[in-house]
Symmetry: C2
Subunit: 251 residues, 2 copies
């Protein structure tokens, strides 16, 4: 087990299928410590295997407990999830803020976990009172009951997003690289020269503005060197008169 | 259909069960426009109904298309999802950043959507080339294949988080309210008086520090008025000698 991890505890889960889907979502986001409190259909449960989609090790290592208190006793910080806000005096966190808090405590070497209730009615108030705070996944008012595995997936995703620090946006150019400003300048000169020749830019008053707008189209496309070559080939091909084509073929 | 919404397009989904779970996750997060491109087992599919958990209207209104191009033609901005990054020149967004972009365009009254591939191998490159950018849900390297409905749930959750602007943290006190600073001051005076009496605070050099630490315990608990009354009752009860109890009973 990783040192910095989030423990997922399912209290009285009903469907083996959901437990399997929970295992898959956990492993997608790098979590491995699954604990089950009184699963309705016993454990192990063969129905959990297909939806785990290969996350067998999570299922095989899942520990089963006869009480919530027994399942959580080594944890230093525990949050509960609930789709409805119980009539209790509690801090209620959005998932992202909750996982920021939980990861910050885990990164100090402390054990953290999140408690999820069963499919039918979620966590009991007694279980929530064992937790420091609540996580409320924001949902549309009139349809707030999330699938158990979806709830675990969202919490696990927010955990992994916190600890993995993937960039918000990457521009992938693969084996090529972005065109230099000189390549782009040559493309613009080529295109605008042809457009002057064909009369597209004949209105001198509008010319500067039209040129800017056309350049912006290609700027937004973040062209690579190869793509600039392709576009110049396209311009050459379009600018060629059909007679030229015939002449080329003859030559 | 809401004006500002996100369209979910599933390209060649295989399992009716997953389509049902997608519908449930969409409705949880306020989305209603589901489109299916060549679902493997035809449509409607009775296997989609139980996992939709009451999101029937999404299933009943789902539209079926025979090509991706036909399914997306009214959309102004379209992102693709992929668990693997294809060898293409594309911008790749984390889910949160992607949905920030998509919601900002939707809020200008334009139609936006996200394309999801089938269970077996995700989107084909031809479908990805119909999209402006990619969404990559960050996953653990060696287990990157998400369940289709989980992927839709995550994207829908990020959409709803963007447009609903729920607060990161709320402290819920229900019908009561937080204790006033005077209530807390009286609690501290009461507790410290009893602890002086019983000798717990007898080391004068340490007293000030101990008092600060004890006060901080109760400050962190964000006590309500009623809870301060409860704690004062607990102090009175603990401070009472067993003989006093007997005397009280007799009286």
């Amino acid at each position: 087990m990783d040192e910095n991890t989030l423990t997922i505890i399912l209290v009285e889960p009903q469907l083996g299928q959901n437990i399997g889907a929970v295992a898959r979502a956990m492993l997608n986001f790098g979590l491995t410590d699954l604990r089950l409190v009184n699963p309705r259909d016993g454990w192990p449960n063969p129905e959990a295997i297909p939806p785990s989609a290969g996350a067998d090790k999570i299922l095989n290592n899942a520990r089963v407990y006869s009480s919530t208190l027994a399942a959580i006793k080594d944890l230093n910080l525990l949050f509960a999830t609930s789709s409805r806000i119980p009539d209790m005096i509690k801090s209620i966190y959005a998932p992202k803020a909750a996982l920021e808090y939980l990861t910050s405590v885990a990164q100090q070497g402390q054990k953290v976990g999140v408690l999820f209730g069963g499919e039918r009615c979620g966590l009991r108030k007694e279980d929530i009172s064992l937790c420091e705070s609540l996580i409320k996944i924001p949902t549309k008012n009139d349809f707030h009951s999330l699938n158990l595995a979806h709830a675990v997936a969202l919490v696990s995703y927010e955990w992994f997003t916190q600890i993995s620090s993937f960039p918000s946006q990457v521009f992938r150019t693969g084996r090529t690289c972005l065109a230099t400003r000189e390549d782009l300048g040559n493309l613009f000169t080529h295109l605008e020269g042809e457009l002057d020749r064909t009369g597209f830019l004949r209105h001198q008053k509008k010319r500067a503005n039209m040129v800017r707008n056309i350049r912006n189209i290609f700027q937004r496309a973040s062209l690579t060197e190869q793509e600039v070559r392709t576009l110049r080939g396209i311009i050459r091909s379009l600018a060629r008169e059909p007679e030229d084509v015939r002449k080329t073929k003859v030559m």
